[in-house]
């Protein structure tokens, strides 16, 4: 399944990399693409219970999930 999350606080390419790195470390995540220009993070994952973990990983890096 694939879901797009709106994230606040991203402003450059390093923010993309940071969020992508954090989400990639979660088991069950197949692909992730962060875009600071749109403020959106698209995640492809195989377990529907992963979403809270994904949001937590983003918040841990200092960003706010809407």
């Amino acid at each position: 399944m694939e879901k797009t999350i709106k994230v606040l606080g991203m402003h450059c390419n390093s923010c993309n990399l940071l969020i992508e790195d954090a989400i990639c470390e979660i088991k069950g995540v197949e692909a992730v693409n962060a875009n600071f220009q749109t403020g959106k993070v698209t995640v492809k994952y195989n377990d529907e219970n992963l979403m809270p973990k994904i949001k937590q990983a983003i918040e841990k890096e200092g960003y706010h999930v809407q």
């Binding site: 450059c12 390093s14 790195d21 220009q37």
Partner: protein, 309 residues
């Protein structure tokens, strides 16, 4: 045995850059002792054998070690190497080479269209012979503007805030100035300023918004200033070698736009981030439309009290 190393890195702009560098370093079993995005360095403690891996991983993420390039910053050899790679159409400058081909096609088609329009419809209009040298400048302005805007768009996905602001400023300023100067000369200070400001602000915002409000505002300010200046200088030089003045200024403007292209390639091109986001039809169509708008404004637009020729 672990030792401490100080790496001077390019591409560090903010706290997120510091965090991503810290992650890369710790992932390789090393430790960050000090990191400063503003000063552009990181001090790490690492085993010697993993240092190369860390540097490579940092480089892949866009944080290249300063001084690791073949020649020093500011060395003209780098610029010549860049021009040479475009002429050879190297893979590393694929986007630039493609856009230059589009620009050549656009210049030929726009030049032919202007020549055809001039000899078929415009040459019998009042002052038409005086407009001839400015018609050439219109084609130049339209083609270089279209090229630079599309080149900046190629890199907009991976651009840092600093580079994005510079792009917003240059794209707002140079096209705004050129269009303001052309319209200022042929239509007067009012129409010239409006045309220059409008073009500069729209292009500056569109090019600069890739790095957020900072880049967009940079584009607004640059477009505002350049539009006013272009028209004003043209009107001021009406009785003092205006055409020679315009050709010199347009030459410098072209060189500045080339400088921006080089900057984009040096600062972001290493990540192979360039993707041409336009087609030849769209490119040529945009350049031609801009040329036509300038020519129509020149011949049929409202005129101020003091205009060329």
């Amino acid at each position: 045995m672990s030792s401490e190393y100080r790496l001077e890195l390019s591409g560090m702009t903010c706290g997120a850059c510091e965090k991503i560098i810290e992650k890369i370093v710790s992932r390789n079993g090393a430790a960050v002792n000090e990191i400063d995005a503003n000063a552009g360095f990181v001090r790490i403690t690492s085993e010697e054998h993993v240092l190369g891996r860390i540097k490579k991983e940092l480089g892949d993420r866009g944080f290249k070690e300063k001084g690791s390039e073949d020649t020093a910053r500011g060395d003209p050899e780098r610029v010549f190497a860049y021009i040479g790679s475009i002429v050879r159409m190297d893979k590393s400058v694929g986007a630039e080479a493609t856009l230059i081909n589009y620009a050549i096609a656009c210049a030929i088609i726009s030049g032919l269209a202007v020549a055809l329009a001039y000899f078929l419809f415009l040459k019998d209009l009042p002052n038409s012979i005086g407009y001839a040298p400015i018609l050439l400048l219109s084609v130049f302005a339209a083609v270089t503007t279209t090229f630079s805007y599309n080149h900046a768009k190629c890199y907009s996905d991976g651009i840092s805030c600093t580079n994005g602001m510079m792009v917003g400023m240059i794209i707002g300023m140079i096209p705004g100035f050129m269009i303001g100067a052309i319209a200022g000369a042929t239509n007067g200070i009012f129409i010239g300023s409006i045309a220059g400001m409008l073009a500069g602000i729209v292009l500056g915002v569109k090019a600069g918004k890739c790095c957020g409000i900072m880049g967009a505002l940079e584009g607004v300010m640059a477009g505002l200033m350049a539009g006013l200046m272009g028209a004003m200088l043209s009107v001021m030089a009406l009785n003092d070698n205006l055409i020679a003045f315009l050709y010199i200024i347009f030459g410098i403007s072209g060189a500045t736009l080339f400088g921006m292209s080089y900057l984009l390639h040096r600062e972001i091109g290493g990540r192979e981030a360039a993707h041409v986001k336009t087609s030849i039809v769209k490119f040529v169509g945009t350049g031609l439309l801009l040329t036509i708008l300038l020519v129509v404004l020149m011949f049929f637009g409202p005129k101020g009290p003091i205009v060329y020729p």
